[in-house]
Symmetry: C2
DNA sequence: GTGCGACGTTGAACGCGTTCAAGGCGGCGA
DNA sequence: TCGCCGCCTTGAACGCGTTCAACGTCGCAC
């Protein structure tokens, strides 16, 4: 084990152990430190601020890896090839990434970001729940599209329950929360009226449905994955209808039953 | 590549094909030549019929592998260990099995058989659809239970779309068909009345739901996987209600919509 | 300047799944 | 009896992901 996903934080580490024992000179004479901004971006001083040397190498390795993954596929890309192409020793890649799988997290983050951006359009201008949901789902397939072959080769890695790459794992929790937030926006920005308890659960349920779509997509060998497109177009109206039905008094008991099931299944881990 | 699941062969294997064609001395004295029968089949000769030597080795390797998988887990069991324990060379294992993954298929077949047997009880005596479904699902968890840790370690292998171990793959088609048949029995042996088109699709849909339960089960770390039990208990009444609703005239259009979606998604592969 | 300690980097080495050329071995036709 | 052919078996070897002891290298305290 080692570091993990240096979020921001100039320099590194972070993750589980919050505080850095390493001095933190903090406010030296010069250099205003720029706490919230990107750590690199050499404002005027051209010569490399040494603390970032590692981060530079890290990025270099990650970029190289993702490029090779795209060009050759995941399994066909060897760690030796990544290291050679990046001009470092193979052991160096393992200094920054715990394993080959961990390189994928960089891909996740990137796609997640692109999904948000691609969803911006429909979320900004559309008020209808069904249209918003459909737009977001199609946007997700759009941004994942170029990586379909690649995704299929590393999907197994994500499916392993104990793997940090599993969408249900603790390590994936940031990007998962981000994705669930996206579906929360789908709901809250729409004019749909919901049962209150359902409203609490729905974002996660929609994310779960999205995972199902992804599962289907990964197995979808039709040209352009058009079967997945049809699945989305067909399933969204059904969800829309179901969600609206949840407000009808006669169906309240049924809704309660479903919500109780979700709650009971979630308990004790 | 080499053979694959030699159907053939008296001696053993069994699984799908129930009857053993071995000789069957039957008409003792004269032996009427049995023209269409297999040419070998040593009537009384005790010494090993050479044709079966290979099959013996195959079984030895499979048994050894499954035992070690159970004892140590999938990834922790090496091919070298299997070979050593079985007293053969490592290359010999690859003569009978294309890869380490292919050893799992033997496990699949065994569990599938056990599932059928365990479901026998409830399918024989129960007429209520919900009770039958619930019984079959619980029986499935029962027989898989002892292998929960093992299953988690090889689950990734099954999830890879291109893997022969994928439940959706062509290679898994025999055990998949068998499982779907199990759910067809659940329906046909019950007193539930169904829309005709739904009846055609329902077995596969129930199998799909079963795959979902398995997916949940693999990730379920609660003691004894009791969350999975609760999931089954909660989801079966919902399915039962939904299925009965399908006969109500007002809801026919909705049902047609769902079935049309399934059909459209299935087209072109 | 000198030494120190942490960060960064190296490449040989390990154990794994898998492949392959080579060689038994045993029954059958001559 | 001999030789052949095809099933079966072998273990060294390959390339992979991963580990690790060792070695720079640089900023800082003295």
């Amino acid at each position: 084990m080692r570091r993990w996903r240096t979020t921001v934080t100039h320099v590194r580490i972070a993750a589980t152990e919050p505080d850095e024992p390493t001095a933190e000179p903090d406010a030296p004479t010069a250099e205003p430190d720029a706490p919230t901004a990107e750590p690199d971006a050499p404002a005027a001083g051209e010569d490399k601020p040494r603390r970032q040397r590692g981060e530079q190498t890290r990025q270099l390795i990650l970029e190289t890896a993702l490029r090779l993954f795209r060009e050759r596929g995941y399994t066909e890309t060897t760690m030796r090839a990544i290291a050679k192409e990046a001009g470092v020793a193979v052991g160096n890649a393992y200094y920054y990434f715990d394993s080959k799988e961990h390189l994928i997290q960089g891909f996740y983050d990137r796609v997640q970001l692109a999904h948000r951006a691609a969803a911006e359009g429909v979320l900004g201008g559309e008020k209808e729940f069904a249209a918003r949901l459909k737009g977001v789902l199609h946007a997700g397939i759009d941004v994942n599209g170029p990586y379909h072959a690649f995704a299929a080769t590393f999907f197994k890695t994500a499916a392993e329950p104990s793997s940090p790459m599993s969408p249900f794992s603790r390590e994936s929790s940031p990007s998962r929360e981000s994705a669930i937030g996206l579906f929360r926006e789908v709901i809250e920005g729409s004019n749909v009226k919901l049962d209150r308890d359902l409203q609490k659960e729905l974002p996660e349920l929609l994310w779960l449905a999205w995972m199902g779509v992804i599962l289907f997509w990964v197995h979808d060998k039709s040209p352009g994955q058009r079967r997945t497109r049809r699945l989305i177009d067909g399933v969204v109206p059904l969800i829309d209808r179901l969600v609206r039905l949840s407000r009808i008094p006669v169906l309240k008991p049924a809704l309660r039953q479903v919500l109780a099931l979700i709650d009971s299944v979630r308990r004790d881990d």
